[in-house]
Structures are given as C-alpha cells and as structure tokens.
Amino acid sequence: MVYQNENCFRLNHLENSWDIETYVANGGYEVWKKVVSGELEPADIIEEVKESNIRGRGGAGFPTGLKWSFMNREAPGQKYIVCNSDEGEPGTFKDRDIHRYNPHALVEGMAIAGYVIGASQGYNYIRGEFWEPYQVFKNAINQAREAGFLGKDILGSGWDFDLHVHLGAGAYICGEETALIESIEGKKGQPRFKPPFPASYGLYGKPTTINNTETLASIPMILAKGGKWFNDLGVKNAGGTKLYSVSGHVNNPGNFEVRMGTPFKDLLELAGGIWKGRQLKAVIPGGASTAVLPAEKALEMNMDYDSIAKAGSFLGAGSVIIMDDQTDMVKAMKNLSHFYWDESCGQCTPCREGTGWLYRMLTRIVDGKGRPEDIAALKDVSGKIMGNVICGLGDAATIALTSAVEHFEHEFVHYIEHGCSIYDRT
C-alpha cells in the first residue's frame, strides 16, 4: 500500500484546508506556541530537524538542520528567513499547492525557522504568476496576525516576527537563492558568486537562511511528531515524505505526497499510468534539470536520492516528467534547451553564449538541417558549459540533453541522416 498525504498535504481532503480554523483544529500552531513560550529551544529544534533527516526540497537536497546551524542566532543585527516559492523549473508545481491548500503550515514553518536563526523578519518569494496562491498566502498571514501568531510580542513572549511577500515577475533564475535575494533587493535576478554565502551575506547584506516552500512547510509536523517519526517514514539518506509533481503522458497528472523510497512504479500507478494505453519511454525524475532515464531504468528505481542517483539521475525537486513511447526525444530536448536559453540570466559567458548555441543546433537538427558533426558538438558544447559557470542553471542546461544524447543517440542520428524524426513516416 502507498501511504499518501502524511505531511504537507495532510489537510488537503478537508474543505477550507487553507483556513486557520481548519489548521488550528488539526493541531496547527501548537509547535509555534511551544517555541515562543520557550518550551522548545532553538538548539533542540535544530537537533530534531537534523534527526528528521530532511533534505532541502528545492532541488539541491542540502540537509536542512545543518543549514540552520550555520546561522549564529545570537549575533547582533537584522537577520532574515526567506522562503523560496519561485517554483519555475519545468515539471515542478508542488509549492503552488502548498500555498493553496496548506498555507498555514508554511507560515508556521517560516516563523519557527525565523525563531531558530534569530530572524524577526521573513520574506516569501512567490513567483509573480502565482496570483491565486499569493492571495491565499496573504490571507493566511493576515489570519495568523489576527490570531496573534505573527507580529509584535507574539503571545506575550517578547519575540517579534513578521512575514512579507515578494512577487517575482517572470524569471526562472530567481529560484536560485542569491538571484532571489538580488530580486528582493529590487535588482535584476543575477546570481551572486559564492562565497560569501547567504548565511553570512544575504538579503540586504544580512545573514539569511533560504529554504524551499516544502522544506519549511514540513517543519511543523516534524516538530509535532518528532524528527524520528519523520525520518522513519523514509529511507536511508532520505527522511520523511516528499511531494512528487507528476506530469506529462500520464492519465492523472498531479501532486502526490508519498514516502521517500516509494517505488517509481507505484507513483506512476497513482498518476493513472501512461495515457492512451501507451508504454513508458523515458522519465525525467527530478525536473528539467535532471538527467533523462530510459524506461527500463526508471521502472526499477525507488523515489529517493540514492536510488535515483543509482539509476543515473537526481531526485531534484521531485518533478517527474513522464514521456510515452511516441515521444520525439530530439524535439523534447529542443523544447528544454529553449527554456534554458530563454532563462539564462546572461552574466556568465558559457551560459549566455552556450545555451543559445545548443538551442540553435537542436533547432537546425529538428528542421532537417543537421550535420554529422552536430552530435559531437552537442556533447562538446555541453561539456564546455558544465562546471564553468556561476550557478546551477548553466550546468542544468546541459544535463537532460547530455543524457538524452547518451540514451537516445539513434534518434538524433536519424534526424541528421534523414532530416526527420524516427516517428515521421517518409
């Protein structure tokens, strides 16, 4: 049996799950009360979060407890907690639903995280297109403020904490944490080079912790039920539950909150199986920035960091893109490469120049004007971007493509030799 909706989505089945009444009736803000009352101390919280083995849900999978421990709570001066709800990676749409169905978990999670790191102010960076989720979240802030969970001297504790929203305006790169900071500062979203890291020089130059929406929204349950509880739900190196966004050629696309380590097959079944009675051809398991896996590898893996890595890809943000056996892999890669080309911030030479080069080559191949040397060039140009840039976008632009060329080279060859797809009847 597949366990579902034990954490961020635990209220989704309820009517008005977004409402503070629903949240509180189901144990919401209990942890926050304990935190501000001093019953739960920052050091203990960090221990609990470490024990939960939760790793950042934004894609990089960095252990959250460890990240929080980098901040010096007692250091004087303003600090910030920032939530990354920019959610722009193709295939990813989980954070949107957290806002829509369980915004108070995020409010509470941010408040707790802020308390732990000593931040009295928090910003939630929501992508600008998410107007409805933003409205729901704003409503949640207002409700929480009214209930005394946010604002000055929270529940008589002497602790102040308030939340703000910054809306994006259409730039995937702002999901990168330092670009996101620049964006809140009212600038272009160009990533900063690191070091310094946000923990020492973040928003407005102040120490800052940035976490993904799902990471933060998971915190209240982790603390309510204990780190051990969460860790035990998952598998080794991957504690707890995870939201998987399943899209593409399935009958029932959507978000599924299951336990880490759930077999991919089971997830595929939850999503209704492959549409139109077709067969699985390939899967991108972690969002557009992760490697494409051919069906046979995917069907054997489980949905956790190690298992997916063993299969040759990455769990990333848990965005599972399913491709059926009629999928033209070359065109699919052209589509992906357009995304990175369009979304590159433009500062690094290899990313600015290379993403367009890749896209143009793929376009030419799809247009029937490919040349024999193009396949080597695709690999070579990808290799020349990889590792030579400031942020992960440039690297990501090459990952799916490189793996697609590796696993489906014959499709590229066919295009080049015949000027058309293997699926085109000539």
Partner: protein, 701 residues
C-alpha cells in the same frame, strides 16, 4: 600569512586574498576580462578559471580566496580546457574583424585569443548583432563587440558614482548600454574607454585616426587641474593623438578626468598660432622670430621709458619655468604688476601676504577622512580626481557637508547647508556652532546664532578622527573670499580639522613658488582697470577674467601688448601688437607643482606646431635682449633650480581682523565651466559638446 602553491611555486599570501592577485604578484599570468583591481568582483566572464586541487570544477581565480596549503594549476589540462572553452564562447558572437576595429592592437580579447583561441570557429549559426545608441561626444559605442564583462557598468556605479550604463535584458539579449538615446555625462566617463577590454567603447575623438601600434608614448603631467594626474600622451607624426592615464596610486590611481583626457584636441586646433606676427600701422604681418622679439622689446622699452605701469599676466596652467622667467624678466625691468588670479575679485588678504593654496592631506589620505566640509566648491567638476577620493571616503561612511552658493549635483551623499542667508552666513553659523560646542567665543561670529543643520556639521567635524575643510573654487570666485577663508580657518582651528585652500589650476602652487604674484604691484583686478602695456602669457582676458569686458577694454586701451599665446584669435588681433606663438603643455618641457606641493617635471612629447616655441625659451631670449642678468639658461632644469630654493608661504588667517559682510553676495559669483577654464580646453571641440561645457547644464540644481 598563508602558503599557496601555484604551478609548483610556493607563494606567501594574505589569507583571503584573491587567487588572481596572488598569482599576479608572482608574475604568473592568468587571463581575465571582468576582473579589474579597482572594481568590485563580478566573476562573470569566467576567463580566469583555474584548476584548484580538491575542487571538482575549475574555479575563477578572481573570486577564489586563497587558503593555506591550496594547490593551484593555471595551465594544467583542466585549466587550459576551461579557459579555451570560455574563449570559444566569447568569440562565437564576436566579430572577427580586428583589422577594422579601433581597438585592434590593444585589445585584451585579441591578446588572450592568441593564447587560448582556436583558429577556426566551429560556430556556424548566425552571429548576434547589437544596435548602437548615441552615447555623447566622447564615447563611441560598437556594442556588437561587447563581451559583457560589465566593467563599464561597475565603473559607473562604483567609481563615477553615477549609473549611466547598465546591462538590460537577459541571456543572449543582455545588452550593455544606456537603453535609451542618452549621452554619458560623467566628468570621468573616458575611463570606461580604458576599462573596456575590447572595442565596444572607444574614444570618439580618437576614432579611426591611427592604429595603436603606430603610436609613440610620452609620459606627461595633466595640465588642467592641480591634482597633477600622470598621463601618457600618444603621438603619431608629431601630433598628439590621444591622452591616457599613467597609473600612479598616490595621485590619480588608474583614472583620468575627461578634461585632462580630451583637452589634447585643443593642441591640434585649427586656431593654433604657428608663426610670430606683429602689428604695424594697424596691419598684421607674419615675421621671423628675431623681428618679432626685437619689435616686442622696442615696444616695451618705449612704454617703460616713462612708466612701469606694465601688466604681466599669465595663466596658472603655465609651467613653473615659464612663470618664473616671466616674473624674473618683469622684475628685471622694474615691473611689479604680476598676477595669475584673474577670476578672483576679493584680494582683501593680500596685504597680509600671499597664502599658498595647498591641499593639506595627501591625495591618498583624503579617502580615509571621516568628515569633510566643502566650502564653496563644486569639487566634482573642479578637481574630479580629488572628488573621487572624497567619494571613496563618503562610501566608507565619512560625512560630507557643503556650504555653497547653490546646491550642486554631487555623486555621493552631501548634507547641504545652503540657505537664503548666503554661504558666508551659513559658514559663520557653522563657525559659531563649533565655537559654542567648544565653549569658545569669537568676535567675528558674536552676533550669529547657529541653526540645527549648522550644529550637525559642527558636531561631525569635532567628532571625526580625521576631518578636513576644503575651500574650493567657488570661494575663490566669491566677493567675500577673504572672510570665507577666515571663517573656514576658524572652523578648522576650533574643530581640530585641517584647512586646505584648494589650488584649482594646474600650477597655482608653482606660481606661488615662482613668485608670480604682485608683491609690490597691482593685482589682476587692478590691472584690468587699465595699464600702459601688457605682457600676457597663455591668457585670453575676455574669458579668463572675472570681468572679461573690463579686462578686454584695458587691453585695448594699452599702448603696447605682447601676447605669448598658442592660439590666434580675432579678439587678440584687435588689442595686441605682437603675437608670439608658444608651445602648449605637450610641446614643452616643464614642471607643475600639484596641490600637495609635489613637483612633477615632464619632457616635450611633440614638437611645437609650426614655428611655435617653448615659452621659457622665448623668455630667455627676451631677457637677453633686454640685457638682463641671469638669462643664460641652456636647460629648463637650471631655471627650476632657482625656483625650488623658494618655499610656500602661509598666512596666519587667525591674526587678521576682518568683519562679516552686510549682504549676501552669492549672486555675484560667476561660475566657470570646467571646460572653459583655459585656452586649450576651450578649443577641445568634443569637450565643448558636453553638458559640462556650459555652466547652466553642469549639474546645477
């Protein structure tokens, strides 16, 4: 200190220093484009990638702090592969037409491409073309060549303090530029030309005139302000083709003001006087030097026979040697009416002696000041390089205040104490506030009540570890200059700040050392009331005097006028009797003494135009023709020796009894545009086409 190993060589470095600096210090070359030691680190070009042991990917040397035991390879296969990759990406969209590019021969991209580029581009997609926008009279853009290093953008934000260029758009569509049609107006804009590693930003006046390798370089000293920026003049066929900064950390660092960069256009002006001319019976004719000099001597002797009422005027942008010999000759002839302060109106202090204007902090130290009070100064346009240092201080948290006749557009935060009362009373208020805080009493400000703004200034000056009061050009032009100096001195003394009366022109300090002052004679303003004869060096009375009309009338009324001038003009022909063509700063050896009293000698970069001669040589011959003693110099150095036995002089302002004026005289100050300051810049057409050429548009308001 930590030990780092680069290519097997062990180097000691300070922990946290960037790898690129450490490598540079050991002469290990790492290619780079975006990195510039004077700008913030961007790490965006990726050219400086090197192989650091233990890192899976190559790291940018410009942004990687060194740690103890770090092992780095700048030419391992991994490093070379990364550098070649970046080079290839840089070139795919870059035009490969170096032969027609203005940067050809001095292009950093071209240089690095020689080492890291492969010959043939595999890139067969179409190249990007970027449209150009008008960026003003000084900078030519060719943005298709831009490699997006953002040095120019960072320069604007960080150094010029005025963000005019930006990077708009993203990805491939990212473009460096002004976005809209707009001229780049910073008084330091030309530095972007130097910073641009490729041919995207080039000098408009220089454009297409020569190839870089055809140029000869000559070291020189900038001739238009008292900072004494070090420059390199580039010439071809005996013509100055451009001027660029010569790095000197203690003075101009790597920068140059636009005035000192583009003024060379004036040297090549059509209006250059190339032959001696004399006026006989109202008719001008070209003559040889001997004739002209004889004619000058005779004419002057005629006047001197029954009068010593001869005016001797020079521009303070003349060299020490020129000024010294001119006054020596005058004094030899019994003439004492010698002056360079033509824009000054208030000479009230002269009776107490001649105070040598000096910057009392070294230029470098200015950026470390904690508080600065600018008294009557639009420093940004007066002394752009000094302003840069003040800006650095301000960025580091120094408090900067101005007491001015109007509010100017500074490129850092200044708190302005400007009001309807006028700057003298504002200054008196500050003095009063300082006195109040210090519990001192002073007659001069006895009737003044300090307001809150003035108290803030006073407190800041008193509290600062290092504070300075700078008295600038607007004070010089003010009818109450003497009182202003007195008040500034009072403020400085009571608040324990340093007082600097800023020299503005290139050689004001030199003029003092050379004794080019009316010790027993008439000052400029008095001479402008009328004299029997004039000897003028490098001045145009109509433009260089506070009251140009008056000065011009005096010239016209004089019996005999000798003009030593680099330029011909209709106006001169009306009043002068002799025009002696002199060399400009690029065409003579000479010396300028900068604001700190630093003597900087320079050699001739190009031969004088036509038959023009170095003024010091002309003066030597004139001295001999007058049969004066001590004019047998062979080398300009000998002149210098005599001068440098002299010393600067200081007037004790505090001992001078003076009263506050009864009215606000601010309106009587006639501002001068930085590009109208001397005859050479007035003839630099590109500078004249900028907003700063006009007092109305030079950022007032």
């Amino acid at each position: 200190m930590v030990k780092v190993e680069i290519n097997g060589q062990v180097i000691e470095a300070k922990e946290g220093d960037m790898l690129i600096d450490v490598a540079d210090s050991a002469q290990i070359s790492i290619p780079r484009f975006c990195y510039h030691k004077k700008l913030s680190i961007a790490a965006n070009c990726r050219m400086c990638l090197v192989d650091v042991e233990g890192a899976w990917k190559p790291l940018p040397a410009c942004a990687t702090p060194v740690t103890d035991g770090m092992k780095v390879h700048t030419n391992s296969p991994k490093a070379i592969a990364a550098q070649k990759s970046v080079m290839e990406f840089l070139l795919i969209n870059h035009p490969l037409d170096c032969p027609i590019c203005d940067q050809g021969g001095e292009c950093e991209l071209q240089d690095v491409a020689m080492d890291y580029g492969d010959d043939v581009s595999r890139y067969s997609e179409s190249k990007r073309v970027v449209g150009d926008k008008y960026a003003g009279p000084l900078i030519q853009t060719d943005m298709t060549r831009c490699i997006h290093c953002t040095r120019c953008v960072r320069f604007g934000q960080e150094i010029a303090g005025m963000m005019e260029l930006g990077a708009t758009g993203r990805s491939e569509w990212m473009e460096i530029g002004t976005y809209i049609e707009k001229s780049i107006d910073s008084e330091m804009s030309g530095n972007m030309i130097d910073l641009c590693p490729v041919g995207a930003l080039t000098s408009k006046p220089f454009r297409y005139s020569v190839r870089a390798w055809e140029l000869k370089s000559h070291k020189g000293i900038a001739a238009h302000d008292s900072i004494g920026s070090n420059i390199i003049l580039h010439s071809k066929n005996n013509e100055v083709k451009r001027v660029v900064p010569n790095e000197n950390e203690a003075i101009n660092e790597v920068w140059l003001s636009d005035r000192d960069r583009f003024s060379y256009e004036g040297i090549n002006s059509e209006e250059r006087l190339t032959q001696p001319m004399i006026k006989k019976n109202g008719q001008w004719k070209t003559v040889d030097w001997e004739t002209a000099l004889q004619f000058s001597v005779e004419g002057l002797k005629n006047v001197l026979a029954d009068s010593t009422d001869v005016g001797v005027l020079a521009s303070a942008n003349s060299t020490v040697e020129e000024l010294y010999l001119l006054q020596k000759m005058a004094r030899g002839l019994g003439v004492e009416n010698i002056d360079y302060r033509h824009r000054q109106i208030d000479f009230g202090m002269d009776q107490h002696g001649f105070h040598t204007p000096l910057l009392q902090d070294s230029i470098e130290v200015v950026e470390k000041l904690n508080a600065v009070l600018l008294v009557g100064s639009y420093l940004r346009k007066e002394l752009p390089i000094l302003n840069l240092r003040v800006r650095k201080a301000a960025m580091a948290g120094a408090k900067v205040f101005t007491v001015n006749t109007e509010s100017f557009d500074f490129n850092y935060k200044v708190s302005n104490a400007q009001s309807d009362a006028g700057m003298v009373f504002e200054l008196a208020g500050v003095a009063k506030a300082v006195a109040d805080i210090k519990g001192a009493k002073h007659e001069l400000v006895a009737d003044i009540t300090a307001n809150d703004a003035q108290k803030v200034i006073a407190q800041a000056l008193i509290d600062a570890k290092a504070a300075s009061v700078f008295v600038g050009q607007i004070s010089q032009l003010h009818p109450d200059y003497a009182v202003i100096k007195r008040l500034a001195d009072l403020i400085a003394e009571l608040s324990d700040a340093k007082l600097s009366i800023l020299p503005i022109a290139a050689n004001e300090v030199g003029a003092h050392l050379a004794g080019f002052l009316p010790k027993n004679g008439k000052n400029s303003a008095q001479m402008a009331q009328g004299m029997d004869a004039f000897i003028n060096l490098n001045i145009e009375p109509e433009a260089d005097f506070a009251d140009g009309d008056n000065a011009l009338a005096a010239m016209k009324a004089a019996k005999f006028v000798v003009n030593m001038t680099a330029f011909d003009s209709e106006i001169q022909r009306e009043y002068a009797d002799v025009l002696l063509p002199v060399a400009t700063f690029a065409e003579t050896a000479g010396t300028f003494v900068n604001a700190n009293g630093l003597k900087q000698s320079f050699k001739m970069a190009v031969e004088p135009k036509g038959e023009a001669k170095a003024a010091w040589k002309i003066l030597r011959v004139l001295g001999n023709l007058f049969n004066l003693n001590g004019f047998d110099y062979v080398h300009s150095n000998e002149v210098l020796q005599e001068v440098f036995d002299a010393d600067t002089s200081a007037v004790k302002f505090s001992e001078i009894a003076i009263a506050l004026p009864t009215t606000n005289n601010d309106a009587k100050v006639k501002l001068v545009s930085p590009y109208q300051m001397d005859a050479v810049v007035r003839r630099a057409p590109s500078l004249q086409a900028t907003p700063d050429a006009n007092v109305e548009t030079m950022g007032r308001g």
